[in-house]
């Protein structure tokens, strides 16, 4: 049991550290370090342009998409090397957020299911950040019950014609390409009538509308499709096998979202050490100490659970559903920590002007962003189901639509 690098890992770390030290956009360091959860990574300036610039630089030097094969623009690195890179990249990894869905989730799906020419065409530009991808899965009527989605794709010669609506599409407004799960057969059981495609977001019949969120930001979108035509060669996997294809994506989603989730604890500890409640420093209050300890052990537990997963990964084991624990724990913590820190601020905790507010409105931003954390990429309830069924081996929920053709499933009280 040790945290030590092997000589090979140490050499990799030294190389990564030296390159980052020589090439990172250091003028952004202070802003990135100060950005809290739910706050944009760069307070001012063009975050997307800075993100693309850093990504391109990484790609040109062979430091992009470490876990990808070299032929697609990756490095063919080991899982441990990927972790070492993340540790060394530090705050600059906040610039990689816009690429995460494409590089982390869509790329593995393309590698597994796309035609060779498409892999050659699209993966390198995804690695370099020059083209960004979004994932179009959720619909207004299909969230946790994703397989109940409605957006339909109908065959027309060597094309498919797509009509319907997607929602919660992160980054659709700056993405060049999208991967979409559609219903191609409403007459069979819901999981069996789905097919996956990718398409150009600039195609006719695609309309992106930003969603104004609870926190006032607009990271998500609604995307509407009116007779969007997708060539059949842009189909991923067989017709009717879209669910299986989506599982590749979602498995990778679990990995990339679950790893290194922020919890808000370091920020809370800093705040409590510096903040005088009027009765002394918050950290000296026994009630505050008890809360801090509770948050500390949950944070530490996640960290060392991730280390156990990393160790298993380096032994060649495949990450499993047990990684669902990361977001489940971190999501609630962000919400609880935000409310706790604001409680310590008393009446002024309601203020959100970061120039006039304690801790630069960090906890207020966290409060207003964190409800989404407990929903996106699998709700707390779905994650508990995954743990119960796939880790603990408990029986699946009983489903009222089991074995029923999709077009006969009840959708409202009759």
């Amino acid at each position: 049991m040790n945290f030590d690098d092997t000589p090979q890992e140490a050499a990799f770390r030294a190389e990564a550290r030296a390159w980052i030290d020589a090439n990172a956009p250091k003028h952004l360091h202070a802003q990135l370090a100060a950005a809290g959860y739910g706050q944009s990574p760069l307070g001012s300036g063009d975050a997307l342009a800075e993100s693309k610039a850093w990504q391109k630089k990484k790609r040109d030097a062979g430091w992009a998409c470490l876990h990808w094969p070299k032929e697609f623009g990756g490095r063919g690195a080991t899982p441990i090397e990927r972790v070492i890179w993340q540790q060394e990249e530090g705050v600059y990894s906040k610039l990689a957020g816009v690429f995460m869905i494409g590089q982390g989730m869509i790329a593995p799906t393309l590698m597994a299911f796309a035609e060779e020419r498409h892999k050659q065409r699209y993966l390198p530009s995804m690695a370099s950040g020059e083209e960004i991808w979004c994932q179009l899965f959720s619909e207004p009527v299909a969230g946790s019950d994703l397989a109940g989605l409605r957006t339909k794709a109908e065959k027309d010669g060597d094309h498919w014609v797509v009509n319907g609506q997607k929602i919660w599409t992160s980054g659709a407004h700056y993405s060049q390409y999208g991967m979409i799960l559609t219903r191609t057969d409403p007459n069979v059981v819901k999981h069996d009538g789905l097919t996956m495609f990718f398409f150009d977001m600039k195609s006719p019949g695609v309309e992106v509308r930003p969603i104004k969120q609870v926190n006032g930001q607009s990271g998500f979108n609604e995307v509407f499709f009116t007779d969007l035509r997708i060539p059949d060669h842009q189909r991923l996997g067989d017709v009717g096998k879209g669910w299986k294809v989506s599982l590749t994506t979602l498995m990778n989603e679990r990995m990339s979202i679950g790893a290194g989730m922020p919890t808000g604890f370091p920020e809370l500890l800093d705040f409590c050490c510096d903040y005088d409640t009027g009765a002394g420093l918050a950290v000296n209050d026994p009630a505050v100490r008890s809360k801090l300890a509770q948050f500390a052990v949950r944070t530490s537990g996640l960290k060392y659970t991730a280390y156990r997963s990393i160790s298993a990964l380096s032994r060649g084991q495949i990450p499993g559903p047990e990684n669902s624990i990361g977001k489940l724990v971190a999501g609630s913590m962000l919400q609880e920590i935000a409310a706790f820190a604001m409680d310590l601020q008393g009446p002024s905790g309601v203020l959100v002007d970061d120039a006039q507010t304690t801790a630069a409105a960090r906890f207020q931003a966290m409060l207003l962003r964190s409800p989404a954390t407990r929903i996106e990429g699998g709700t707390d309830e779905i994650l508990r189901n995954i743990i119960a069924e796939r880790v603990l081996g408990l029986p699946a929920d009983m489903r009222a639509d089991r074995g029923m053709p999709y077009n006969q499933i009840p959708t409202r009280v009759r």
Binding site: D270, S300, Y307, E389
Partner: protein
Amino acid sequence: MDFDFSPDQQQLKDQARRYLADHCSSSAVRAVLDGPQSHDAALWAGLGTQGFLGAAIPEAYGGSGAGYGELCVIAEELGRAVAPVPFSSSIGLFAELLLRAGTEAQKQRWLPGLADGSLIGTLALAEQPGRVTPASLTTTLTAGRITGTKRPVTDGDIADLAVVATRDTTGGAGAATLSLQVVDLRAAGVQRQALPGIDPTRSQAQIDFTGAEAEPLGAPGAGWALLHAVTDRAAVLMAFEQVGGADKALQTACDYAQERFAFGRPIASLQAIKHMLADMYVSATLARSNAYYGAWALQADAPELAEAAATARVSATQAYQHCARNNIQVHGGMGFTWAFDCHLHYRRANLLALQLGSLSEWEDRLVGHLVAKRAAA
């Protein structure tokens, strides 16, 4: 990074689990619960013979010298089995105190017996209700003899030896006048009385010292610091007992939820039950990962040991309490019967939660370490 136990340690863990499955079944635990004896002496001797007790005691003193990682996996299995033995008192505390502060002669004299199970040691610390602070300790040492009352002393009625925290009669009530003594509890000047507790599978006692003969352990005035250092080490081992217990309580609840039917289906198919079990898994997993951090620090004798120990301790205390109480909840009314084993874990979880200091005390210790680390950074 290799943040896991080694194949050899895993093998030892499996070996310990098999041994305890054979020698510490539920009926063996219940024999202590319902019977007059306050520990399973045959099991204790067997654990000694197997080399489990002496896993971290050097070969020179009769142990196997295997190491603390080995001792951690053994502690986990003892916790899983709710073993009615004085492991935490004799190995986690007494042997560790000797190893840290004993003279060569003291180690030679007692460690072999602790390793083979022929001797039982414990720590006699608390005297009155509430948190143990230097000011709460009044048992005095005068000219090598101890006077005062300690209660509760876990395993105090079955132990042969105890480390007793005493105060020098000169120099005030602070930590500076606290020292540790080793006392033979079978000798003159020691009266012991078993006390009923929430977990009858682990004994509690009051010990009255009336001029009992003592020999010093460690330097005069070093008692408080030594206790802190050793309770950190003991806390890691106890966290493993708690993690083992939590894991077993979770497993028991999952098994029952799958075989118990209500409304025409296994109750494990109801989300209210599934999600309760998932939350138990989350607590148990976080606690296990934190305990591994403690095990790493203990094995490496790392500067992070105090922080890691407090982290492991707080996390494991909560996880075992959580899993033990929800195990009863999943069982419904059956969980409240004497006949089902749920209460064995409920008792043990709440007993362990108070040994070595309460949850709030360890929370306080943890935050102290985190604040100090932040200030140093």
